[in-house]
Symmetry: C2
Subunit: 279 residues, 2 copies
């Protein structure tokens, strides 16, 4: 299997199998997080922790013991200078039927993966992306959180094979851009950073949260609003963020050049530093 993890723990114990009754498997009934870890220290931990808590609240899962979770992330990845930890939290085992049990015992699955080998040029010079045909559906109750119902992203990611394409942008049924399959989108418009509002669809990323928090220090004003494709082509520049890529500026969308504001290189570099700072 390509991209297999180095090691996996289930509920704190080394294991690579789970019960077939897990509700994550049956319904996607759970959450996940993907951390950049450096010598056992997760980056943007507080943002990941906050999103997990929001997700648990939305799904009606019990509060997670995040201190124990942090200790496990550290122990799992301590021997690696740079790696990825993926966490799944499911509602645990269940019987047949959608109804969630009031006394669910959530299951946590932590996997350590090698750092992904994206071409260094993607950080240095920006990326080419496509616009996916697969739309993102709108569901306010699930918008923003990182839940396990990700078939739309799977279908969208299956739309291209070309290794020169770094990411695919996704829009809702009305053509409003939501983000990339695995990343958030920002437009640079003068001194404003415009990012799609995610109250009806999309995942509110941890680097996105950091950019919003640090925007004043970076010299920008944040605007969350609807973003059309025309806005993207009219912008001074645009970039993608997530916990692993940090920040990639976008060179072309579907073969069409985007604005490349001179400040974009420095801004992308600053955001990569934000994403690479352990809490």
């Amino acid at each position: 299997m390509v991209g297999a993890p180095l090691r996996t723990w289930v509920d704190g114990v080394p294991d690579d199998r789970v019960s077939v009754f897990d509700r994550g498997l049956h319904y996607g009934d759970g959450l996940f997080e993907t951390f950049r870890v450096q010598h056992g220290r997760p980056c943007l931990w507080r943002d990941h922790r906050r999103r997990l808590a929001l997700g648990a609240q939305r799904l009606g899962l019990p509060d997670l013991d995040t201190d124990r979770l942090l200790a496990e992330v550290r122990a799992l990845s301590a021997d690696r200078p740079l790696a990825v930890v993926k966490l799944l939290v499911t509602r645990g085992d269940g019987g047949r039927g959608y109804r969630p049990s009031r006394d669910a015992r959530p299951r946590r699955i932590l996997s350590l993966y090698p750092w992904p080998d994206h071409p260094p040029a993607w950080s240095a010079q920006g990326v080419d992306v496509i616009l996916c045909q697969t739309s993102v559906s709108e569901q306010p109750r699930l918008a923003g959180i990182k839940h396990l119902n990700r078939l739309e992203q799977v279908l969208a990611r299956d739309e291209w094979d070309d290794p020169a394409i770094a990411e695919g942008l996704m829009a809702d049924a009305d053509g409003r851009l939501v983000g990339g399959t695995m990343s958030n989108l920002f437009l640079v418009l003068g001194d404003r950073l415009v990012t799609p509002s995610l109250d009806r669809a999309g995942v509110a990323g941890t680097v996105r949260a950091a950019v919003i928090r640090e925007a004043p220090a970076l010299g920008y004003v944040i605007v969350e609003r609807g973003v059309e494709l025309a806005d993207l082509f009219a912008a001074d520049g645009a970039f993608l963020t997530n916990a692993l890529i940090g920040c990639w500026s976008i060179r072309r969308v579907g073969g069409r050049d985007l604005g490349q504001a001179p400040l974009l290189v420095a801004l992308a570099s600053s955001i990569r530093r934000l994403a690479a700072t352990p809490d």
Copy 2:
């Protein structure tokens, strides 16, 4: 665990654990079916098989060996006069990231469950249902098929605890009814059976398919179209279908009485027979 299966096979072998790398667990990347089985014979097998094939095509999964699958369903349930078999088909193991592998090896998980003990009065006298607050999102690429992204149904089913409520109806964001959390909806309007069109949301059930096929024999004309709540209250009657309940007529929605056409009792009974006939 309440509602645990009697036995489970993974890829044809008795087992109750799967790899934590299964893409069904990570992304809900797969399909399921729930069969009524009688002495090892699944009811509405051809409808289940057809929906599975459609789902596999939509998700880009390899064709399933349905002959082998049928043999396994039979062997798993042969010693039971009446039981439930749930099948999960996932894309199998995968590495990190949404991209589906071109050479995925799907995994099949078959579980045998006892027949559910719904109150007999629900078949005989009809059911009370509520209207759920949780909406169904619209995604044409996933509409109709029975995929593993079912968080909306989980959230909707979590909206009521009252054991006197049999089901919850769900609508899309525009208020068009899609069906129940686990069932399809039909309205009786004179000699017409009106059922929500499922080209943008919902699961096209096997009993729904049988009702559509057999409608002329039952003396009805089928109409698939948008259905509003007002249509429901104006109808001569309404009923719910799925492979396990067969058919329940609806008595009340959110405490409000529905029409109870005299023919409804006989019609519901005929549909239950359709659902209980092994292929």
